[in-house]
């Protein structure tokens, strides 16, 4: 399960992806339009900046922008930064493997072997979907809605 941090972070990134590139958004603006507690969003965007996914500028005319184009930012990357590894269990993670301290013999651990499959499945989706894809989904969803009305 994604934490709120992860969810908020994805929504914020989606928000940024929806602006003309280079045009900064204010934290306050992102927070209010997405119903995210402002201060929490501050720390979330801070982490995304430290990870190099967004740029920030202080002072008047400042705010946050994407550090790369939306096509180059993978959903999996955002989630890893905010919520940690995608794998259901750490001994099945590629990006941040850690041995289980219980578990005598990893090679014959059925749990791990199934979770490796699961990790693969999750990563295949989330590492191939980009922010741009996510935004396209959203816009298409909106369009369908407009169409219905």
């Amino acid at each position: 399960m994604l934490t709120k941090k992860g969810k908020y972070g994805l929504k914020a990134m989606l928000h940024l992806a929806g602006r003309p590139p280079g045009q900064p958004s204010l934290v306050t603006e992102i927070a209010t339009t997405n119903a995210i507690p402002k201060k929490f969003l501050d720390t979330i965007l801070g982490e995304l900046r430290n990870a190099g996914l967004v740029n920030s500028k202080k002072g008047k005319g400042g705010g946050y922008t994407l550090a790369r184009s939306a096509q180059e930012i993978r959903v999996g990357h955002i989630i890893r930064i905010l919520d940690g590894p995608l794998a259901p269990i750490q001994c099945a993670s590629k990006t941040s493997y850690r041995r289980c301290d219980d578990c005598k013999d990893e090679k014959s651990c059925g749990v791990r072997l199934v979770m490796l499959e699961a990790r693969e499945a999750i990563a295949t989706v989330l590492d191939n979907r980009t922010l741009a894809d996510m935004r396209a989904f959203a816009v298409r969803g909106e369009a369908e809605l407009t169409y219905c009305i």
Copy 2:
């Protein structure tokens, strides 16, 4: 991420799947061979019993057994019982859907649409793998190991 509860539960079920069917295992035995705190395992097995996946018998000669054959128990089912829905976000869950209270319009929420894909991918793996598969993995792992020595 799976919690320890989920991990322990899977290991315990795997343990039961490795016994001749009908032959009960003691909680203490499962706990010590798998390095699981006994009392925690008590509650875990209790939940699995309430969910109908295992049977329990008190008194001498008692213990826990699988309630169905290992081929009929899906890994996804065990995890849902112990750790809740597989979907990364509740508004993307099929078995226990719940609307996000933030999020004006669900149909145009890009986050949700990507997470629906992720949920599908996870469920495809975990709802098709059975305890028996998991056990087979484990045994094969062991065999490979023996082979290497």
